[in-house]
Amino acid sequence: MDILNALVAFLNFVFIPAAAYGAQLALGALGVTLIYGILRFSNFAHGDTMAFGTAITILVTWGLQALGISLGPLPTALLALPVGIAATALLVLATDRAVYRFYRVQKAAPIILVMASVGVMFLMNGLTRLLIGVDEQRFADGERFVINVRDFKAMTGLAEGLALKTTQLLTLVIAILVVWALFWFLNRTKSGKAMRAYSDNEDLALLSGIDPEKVVRLTWIIAAALATIAGVLYGLDKAFKPFNYFQILLPIFAAAIVGGLGNPLGAIAGGFVVAFSEVAITYPWLKIAGYLFPGWQPDGLLQLLGTEYKFAVSFVILIVVLLFKPTGLFRGKSV
């Protein structure tokens, strides 16, 4: 029995990738959930907002790289991030002004806002492509690994290697920081409470002297920041390609719903549930079983289901979880 190797294999192929992916989903879901919670609609344009923010950040990163500015072991993109956030914030504020505000004033049925966000999604989709094209772009630099497989093996002498990428670590750390900050902001600061109050009862918020437009602006700015951060981290870890940012919308929504829409903690939990169930259920346990029970030679891969069903699996798990825990992982704002 070789527990160490089994553990390392598990960490390397299941735990670390799933955790990083989960954090990426969580950051995306956080933005979706925030808009949902405060502006009361599901924003389908979020994926493309992420893409736009990332595209701007990439352009700035290239500029910085050309100037020879770098952050040492960390990716230069982190330096460009504030610019990306600012540009994205401007864009979403402009969108709000041009599109959503009208329906807010009209008090149109919320589904109209959802559909308007689909329209905005199409627009941003095209805009990003006009801006940076449809190709894959890479902009990661700095140290790629905190620890890589070869070094790890040399260091420990184990048969299995362990890799931890800078971007993975960065994603996890930032995700935790951002969630903490958002939580603190919403529950402890006056502006945060104003946002929650607005979300609960718009008229009464107004009657308490809260300026609704300010709340809306703040929400969009935070959402833009979340989207850009999520998009850039995802792009750093994988690669940037506008089309993928649309595709990631689906797991993001799944994560947000599972965690309980409108609940920041839920978004985090949802992200990890989706990520871990995708990786763990479809993981062939053959190798790990081989370490744990050296004598056993099964002929299959000990894989519960093929990876082609990974997304389906995560949905089934979600539904089962919800069936047995009907309030959701965290109580979301729903009927």
Binding site: P17, Y21, G133, K238, Y283, P284, L286
Partner: protein, 374 residues
């Protein structure tokens, strides 16, 4: 007289990043012909683009319908993905008797489809490449591989034919599983591949799609160090993406001896685009074939020139490389025979698809090196 040629590719949708370089390739062939002024006494060719979306059969059909019935194109370079190609072929092209030459639809279904002699393709059949790839892998002394394929007819067909050939020749495929393009994350796929093990990973995907994603994740987790790349993966992008990380990996893509593809790459560079993108060369060939067939038939009527496509593509005749379209037209106008080889080694076999010669490449020192042809 102006002749219109349709280019129906997925400019939006899952393979949107491949489409522009393909369209550029096709247009380059037309430009070359126009510049020569030799096609049917100086007839010029105009390209009309249509967006087939790759994924949506209905939209593709509508696009091709427009190209044919409204724009009046005399032939079509396209479609891009097999499903969409079949739909537009069956419902529109056949009904209107228009020739379609697809640069990238590789489904075996297209081999057997009732096409009235209207459909051709310049990409090699999956079966042939699978065989070639199996040979190459075995010759490298690798007996056990894992296979991942992009979950469409191209990937699936290639992976299956490779597995069949490889196992027949004594190799062992530890796992043969799909990855979907455009997904957010490939950790699960790579974890499964790694668990199954193998000395190398065969990636039957697209370089600017999930294929790269899988390779990335496999490298990062140290799951595989050697990769085998078929045509969808061989391009400059793979070098740009992975540099010397894929040291020792190898692959193959269709190209004939005689530097057809090298020439093409150079021409593309001069025209300002990346000719090494997947199926860009094949698109150039598709357009060239249509035009040469027209010249040979001395007619732009598809019902007439469709019978000439095989003639100009195959022996006997003078071998035609990329950039030599003017020469080919001269020969044809002079009553001679040509054998179009082009950038992707076009050699059409019944019922109108390329048999394909492949060049073998390997990745060393962060560069792609051509090792040989087979």
């Amino acid at each position: 007289e102006d002749i219109k040629l349709g280019i129906s590719l997925g400019f939006t949708g899952p393979l949107e990043s491949m489409a522009p370089a393909m369209a550029k390739g096709a247009e380059m062939a037309m430009q070359e012909v126009n510049d020569s002024g030799l096609l049917m006494d100086g007839t010029t060719v105009v390209a009309v683009q249509g967006d087939s979306t790759c994924a949506d059969a209905a939209a593709a059909t509508a696009t091709v319908e427009r190209l044919i019935t409204a724009e009046g194109v005399k032939g079509i370079v396209g479609g891009m993905c097999s499903g969409e190609t079949i739909a537009s072929l069956e419902n529109v092209a056949k009904a209107n008797g228009i020739v379609m030459i697809s640069p990238s639809a590789t489904s075996p279904a297209l081999t057997t489809i009732e096409d009235n002699g209207l459909f051709f393709r310049t990409s090699p059949s999956d079966a042939r490449q699978g065989e070639v790839m199996a040979d190459i892998v075995l010759e490298k002394g690798i007996n056990s591989v894992a296979v991942t394929y992009t979950n469409n007819d191209y990937g699936k067909g290639l992976a299956d034919s490779f597995q069949a050939a490889f196992e027949e020749k004594g190799g062992n495929v530890t796992v043969n599983s799909a990855h979907d393009d455009g997904k957010a994350d490939y950790s699960a796929e790579v974890a499964a591949l790694a668990a199954a093990g193998g000395d190398a990973l065969v990636v039957a995907g697209y370089v600017d799609q999930g294929g790269s994603g899988v390779v990335r994740a496999a490298l990062d987790t140290g799951a595989f160090e050697t990769f085998v790349f078929p045509d969808g993966m061989v391009g400059n992008a793979v070098v740009e993406n992975f540099g010397d990380e894929i040291e020792g990996s190898f692959g193959q893509n269709p190209a004939a001896e005689g530097e057809g593809r090298e020439t093409y790459l150079k021409m593309a560079e001069e025209a300002g685009f990346d000719g090494s993108g997947a199926f860009s060369a094949e698109a150039y060939d598709a357009a060239a074939l249509i035009l040469l067939a027209m010249a040979a038939a001395d007619s732009s009527d598809p019902a007439v020139y469709k019978d000439k496509v095989m003639d100009v593509a195959n022996e006997p005749g003078e071998k035609i490389m990329p950039g030599q379209l003017a020469k080919a037209l001269e020969i044809i106008n002079g009553g001679g025979d040509v054998d179009y080889v082009g950038a992707a080694a076009v050699e059409l076999v019944e019922p109108g698809e390329t048999a394909g010669t492949f060049r073998e490449v390997s990745f060393e020192g962060g560069e792609m090196k051509v090792i040989g042809y087979r």
